[in-house]
Symmetry: D3
Subunit: 164 residues, 6 copies
């Protein structure tokens, strides 16, 4: 059956036994994004400066989403997360009329398995919430690509993304 650790000898999925793994501080950083049009860009900017802050709502959703990871992803271990943080940044290319919200999530745990799924779930939930709050204006928005940026702690080598 190759090395898919998530399957038992019957070929059925299982939650892998991690009771023998060492406890250590583990961190994962993930990235997602939402590409919007100029109208949405303008309105989000206006709201962020004054009222109707789209980012405030979606960032709360992202943090709560991190806590729901084991409830959403069947083989994920439930973990007592120690810290979750979400950041936003605009990536603009006015000539191409491209308005991209970059979402960076960081999750930390002192535990015996990594938190990349929690960081990716936080990033996805944040992006979905931005989409929800802007969808009355435009349905052509695009979420992602979504991927892991960095991962430290645990026995396997630390990971840092090299490709764009």
């Amino acid at each position: 059956m190759g090395n898919f650790t998530h399957f038992n000898e019957q070929g059925r999925a299982r939650m892998v036994d991690i009771s023998e793994k060492k406890e250590s501080v583990r961190v994962a950083i993930a990235r997602s994004s939402v590409t919007v049009n100029k109208e949405i860009y303008d309105q989000i900017q206006e709201g962020t400066n004054k009222k109707g802050d789209v980012f405030a709502v979606s960032q709360v959703a992202g943090i709560m989403g991190a806590k729901k990871t084991a409830d959403l992803i069947p083989m994920c271990h439930p973990l007592s997360l120690n810290g979750v943080d979400v950041h936003f940044e605009w990536s603009l290319s006015t000539e191409k009329e491209e308005y991209v919200i970059l979402i960076t999530t960081e999750v930390k745990v002192k535990g015996n398995t990594g938190v990349e799924m929690e960081a990716l779930t936080a990033a996805s939930t944040t992006a979905l919430t931005i989409y929800d709050m802007c969808k009355a204006l435009d349905k052509n928005m695009v979420i992602g690509p979504t991927y892991l940026l960095k991962k430290t702690g645990g026995k396997s080598d630390d990971y840092e993304r090299t490709q764009a």
Copy 2:
């Protein structure tokens, strides 16, 4: 405050009142994807034909994810979904060594608001679960782009994506 309907006159988010909207059958179709390397491609193919079916697990996760949409996205209305379906398709470009799993989700409801967020959440959860089950082999996988393909029902015009 422009036309962000999700904010009240205090500039704070709200769940928009839809009690006056008409009930009708509404459908939304969304797309996500996971780009994997050759090793994962080979192993998923082997498992799908015999045992250790990554798609079987992630597709269950996607359907359950659709039902959790209102729990994840703060301003989403809880809806009694009437049907959810998830499909998989490989998009291969062997010369570029690109192995992409295309995920298509379809959600249906007889209700008074649309289900695009449910379709997008199902697609995202399916993709995250594929990632989780393959991450021991490669951490460079990429989820998405994730977007709406089609939407019918309700008062606003039907939507069908034209851009790639």
Copy 3:
């Protein structure tokens, strides 16, 4: 693929589309049980009459369990349940030293699909909670058999169990 309605043409599970089904009042009645030893029987009886009522706790769990059905059973449709009731009865056979708690659950909905899974989930959750509260005294308890007693409403014929 025979007539398993829960699979799509790819052979993958789906939540069946019920948007065309008629709304009607539907009722389902299910049964489970917990077989306990004399010591537990005596203590439950004492608690029911005075304090420490095992049934009070497990019956609350059963009602809340009914509401979690669509969250537990992947292909179940979320439903706005209209009524849930749980009853207890002792079935004693002192010569065989058998002490059986019979659990009967009744679930009602005005909706477009039946509620047998909700009644069965309520019965199972009630039984599991009784087990949990008594397990310090005996680990030989047995839950069930658990089955559907009756079902009315909807297009298919009403069902009433004939076998024991």
Copy 4:
């Protein structure tokens, strides 16, 4: 057993059968509050005007809390809420050095039972979240009193609070 409708003839709690009740638009408005000290008052004011908006987070929590009502309150019927709104207002009495955040929640549904529990749960969750975000500064904060302000729709007479 008097007229506690929430108990069956065994004296055990049940979810009352509402399948015969008429569907209508129902609204409930509830009130809670958090009494804080001057330091917290100053910091919340500063954050609301610039950054670190305590109200933004707690109001998202309140809306999501309304959706969790049937998951929290055992005998509550699950309802597909149609609208939720949360407002904040300061009630200050500088001579008594009293700084009170008034929370007003409004919940709307087209359904066959009222939404007072949803409005009260939204108000409580909003207040608990304010407490959580300020507790590093002071543990003497007081939540509530929490009560129903108004209720319309349904067969029983509309209610409006007369006492303070």
Copy 5:
């Protein structure tokens, strides 16, 4: 930004990093209440002595509510609670015709952050459930005030409420 620890340098909420905090046994005790009229008082008393025990249901809700704290309060850390207890007491003032149910909750954890939010959430959920079960008789009930009574364990000084 003052000392609101719950905000990051972008002024957005975060779940504070507690991975460096020491594990210790931590206890929190909270208080809430429900003020009812004479009719409800009489019926609850009758039910407690015989059947239809309002307290039994609401106390189960309170314990389950404690376990849902991190799901309700956005910035709360998920914790593996070690113990939860709920007590009831009547505070009567027959001349003022005041009938108050005092709710006291105690939560314990061996972990690296305190459990005051869990104790307060348990108290609030207990109170909301009492309200729900009695609301058919009177809508003038008042929940709370709700506050922290005591807190021990952890690095910061132990807290005990001095004001009423």
Copy 6:
């Protein structure tokens, strides 16, 4: 009140304090079953070999069910499960025309309380899901009996079932 540890001195249920219990690796193995008719047996066999795998879906449900134990069973402690596995086996008696799916679940945790409720909940959820996916063909299916097979770890003696 005898030795029901789940009740406090008021005779009300509580979540027992386990903060003083020792952490150790604990394992529990549970059994449930679903008795089906020949038609369902044939179709499940066909699906397992090719498409429409009932076991794949119900086994995912069982693993996710294990993670929901503390959410379903009121007095259960939330635990960060370290491993969950589900197995299936047919027990056939063709002369009696009996077709029984045996479900075996194994749950592992490094923690300070046992996981028998998690194993039993996983087994029950797996069985309920099989029932759900086959109920269109037959409503006479029977779930269980469901019971504990084995338990190791912790202070109390290890348990192994001797009765059938």
